[in-house]
Symmetry: C2
Amino acid sequence: MAQLTCTYVRPLEGITVVVDLDEMKITKYYDRFTVPMPKVDGIEYQASKQKPPYGPRVNGVMVAQPDGPGFQIDGHMIRWANWNFHLGFDIRAGPIISLASIYDLEKDTFRRVLYRGFVSEMFIPYMDPTEEWYYKTFFDIGESGFGLCAVPLEPMTDCPANAVFMDGYLAGQNGKPFKISNVFCIFEKNAGDVMWRHTETGIIGQEIREVRPEVSLIVRMVSTVANYDYIVDWEFKQSGSIKVGVGLTGVLEVKAAPYTHTDQIKEDPYATLLADYTLGPYHDHFLTYHLDLDVDGDENSFVKDKLVTKRVTDHSSLRKSYWTVARETAKTESDAKTKLGIEPVELLVINPNKKTKIGNHVGYRLIPGSLASPLLSDDDYPQIRAEFTKYHVWVTPYNKSEKWAGGEYVDRSRGDDTLAIWSARNRDIENKDIVLWYTLGFHHVPYQEDFPIMPTLSGGFELRPANFFDSNPVLKTRIPKVAHWPNCTST
Amino acid sequence: MAQLTCTYVRPLEGITVVVDLDEMKITKYYDRFTVPMPKVDGIEYQASKQKPPYGPRVNGVMVAQPDGPGFQIDGHMIRWANWNFHLGFDIRAGPIISLASIYDLEKDTFRRVLYRGFVSEMFIPYMDPTEEWYYKTFFDIGESGFGLCAVPLEPMTDCPANAVFMDGYLAGQNGKPFKISNVFCIFEKNAGDVMWRHTETGIIGQEIREVRPEVSLIVRMVSTVANYDYIVDWEFKQSGSIKVGVGLTGVLEVKAAPYTHTDQIKEDPYATLLADYTLGPYHDHFLTYHLDLDVDGDENSFVKDKLVTKRVTDHSSLRKSYWTVARETAKTESDAKTKLGIEPVELLVINPNKKTKIGNHVGYRLIPGSLASPLLSDDDYPQIRAEFTKYHVWVTPYNKSEKWAGGEYVDRSRGDDTLAIWSARNRDIENKDIVLWYTLGFHHVPYQEDFPIMPTLSGGFELRPANFFDSNPVLKTRIPKVAHWPNCTST
């Protein structure tokens, strides 16, 4: 055991133990079958134990800020560029972003965007129906806690050289507080992207070129929930966008089997053969976000701008068709539930009481990403408990008891206290304080590259201003000065 | 006119001029109506002409490589980390990536991934059927040329401080060569992402944490096709992924109208009111990529791994359902055509003649992004010419004449020489040298934030190894050394 790097990649398969926790007794012991334990070869991932040949090496690429970070942290309030927000640490959700407001240069005031946003639940059902695996349908937020499983972030690897770290405090099981050091990192990101640009080539005798490079702010937490490591990012852009990212990495939950070659597999293994005696069962990851947007105030509406094809039938045009926008305002929760990917639609949270100078309702748009829908049957017990994953989008009126999409007590959930149940009341949501729930997902068919550790697979979504500002809010952003190092000579 | 920054944002509306190019005469002149010309206020975007208040300012965030770039350029061959590829510059496509191969540490050899990849066509139909606008259904690659419209890249803004630039040469209309300086930049990107990580928390008495930061290589070109600026990125990851990105920015093509407030609009304007007298018409952007994958050799097959729900009917499990993978190999072009977003599916190009040690076919997976389908009617002339956008994915057998999805001579296309027509022959594609065509798209409803210049909207897709390697190819990547500046003292 001293050699063991990882407890997940060498499973003993076939044994089930049932314990009566009241009696503290083993009441049942099944040993259904024997299969070889997966081999130890190739599962070592510690740098100190690697032997040549080594993987590709690249020259150092570091981020430098000679003038220091451009943000201020005052307690848990963070101020950067045109953004202000509060960063909380929660035992269940991990990071909670609240009171996020953006400065409007024209109006000379901060305007509220997001009252509160966090990961509300994550559902990870495995697709192996056998005795030893059928129950593996995890609810990582409600059962394990993203905050409780957060790990200290390592400077220079988990976060770049210019990151600033923040500790988190939790109540332990004995009631005493304990600290997770460096639970968050906050850093300005310069990925070499372009905020906006244009080359004007149409004016004879001159070429006008204007480019503004993109620098954004990232808030990061990593939660290691048993075998998986989740990298949870909130990114704030000067243009007003909030991008939410999630990276999946860590160790696969594997299953032992007697196979050393796919030719030996005669029945559905519910899995990919990854290595000798090692299967990677199929599974999903669904992350449901609670997004209590307050777009320029707390009375908001949810609208679907459907893109609909129109036929030109009166021969008024040489075109036969075009598309236009048909706006539908969701009056009740039932109107708001949306499965995406079928019909083209723009989803917005607007403030019906506020308009831009020229009359458009101020709004924020959800640009979805990482779409996946559950494939379990509706009547399957795990799916009854996770019915909130059935739609990509739900909208509810704010209710302080409706924070956790899978219910308050998820361990014991029978699916009777979930977002799907609350929403079935079909409450009014027009011009109210509303919460947008978005579920992103990944169907995970493991590949051999994912073994023993998985290169990060990323997804996310964007909240982007949509007629929130009267015009491009970063038009008047100046070109950044080239940063120079003090006390250096060129070589 | 001396004050003019941009020729696109102050249109004279209502006038149509028809010219007979043989006679060099104006044959028709319509002046259908008069509307005010959009105002000049707020359209200036040159930094030198801005007045306070300025946009948000952030501290400098620069990328530094004290040891210099980690790649070598030998003519047009680029070598970096475990990748080798050729970067060509084409008047029509812009960048052409070819002969991309990745070094396999276990096999001690380079293995081919992509024989040739490039943007084959881009289709941008506007949704205004009126006399002055109906014909605006641009094919930017075939009509304008992404290479011909490429602009010199500006150090420190278009590309970060560590970028290396490459010139491009084209044949001018008079037959003489001309140079576009700095048409490409190549740089190593460190966005603060994580290549892979795991914290092992399950071993009593010790915590093992291993993290490898992500550094990738970007090849970038920017093409300013009239009003729009397209940022075209090819990203190579050490894990074997090739990510293709496109950023849309630049100036909207706007239309003059008599409105200063949305309340005045009584009929469908086919557009968003963006400013006084200024409409932003609805439109699409479809980019079709030609991806001649050669996965470990040139005889490949295209497979769809469909995720299908299975019911448990024999009471063998407490589960009622699960999903599993049903592989379908596309035998002909017709089998391969795919509309995405409807059914869950993994799309792979595999080499049916090569297997991993444990028997999986070596392959690469397409992870789609930025999905959009055309909304024009099939019988509409622009859509007949752009029928290749009807499916997100097509697969054809390699044919040297089939490079340009919209046909060889797009200006005069009647839709009889397109990918859709070639593919209608329904040729065999199993175990052949095949080409994967992927179309990404954006339905663009303009918002006021997009005026006068649009903050970058990004999309893309990923080609990711899928049982190409026997295990994680970056497991043995060492932790990078911290880069130190020479000749510096700390302050």
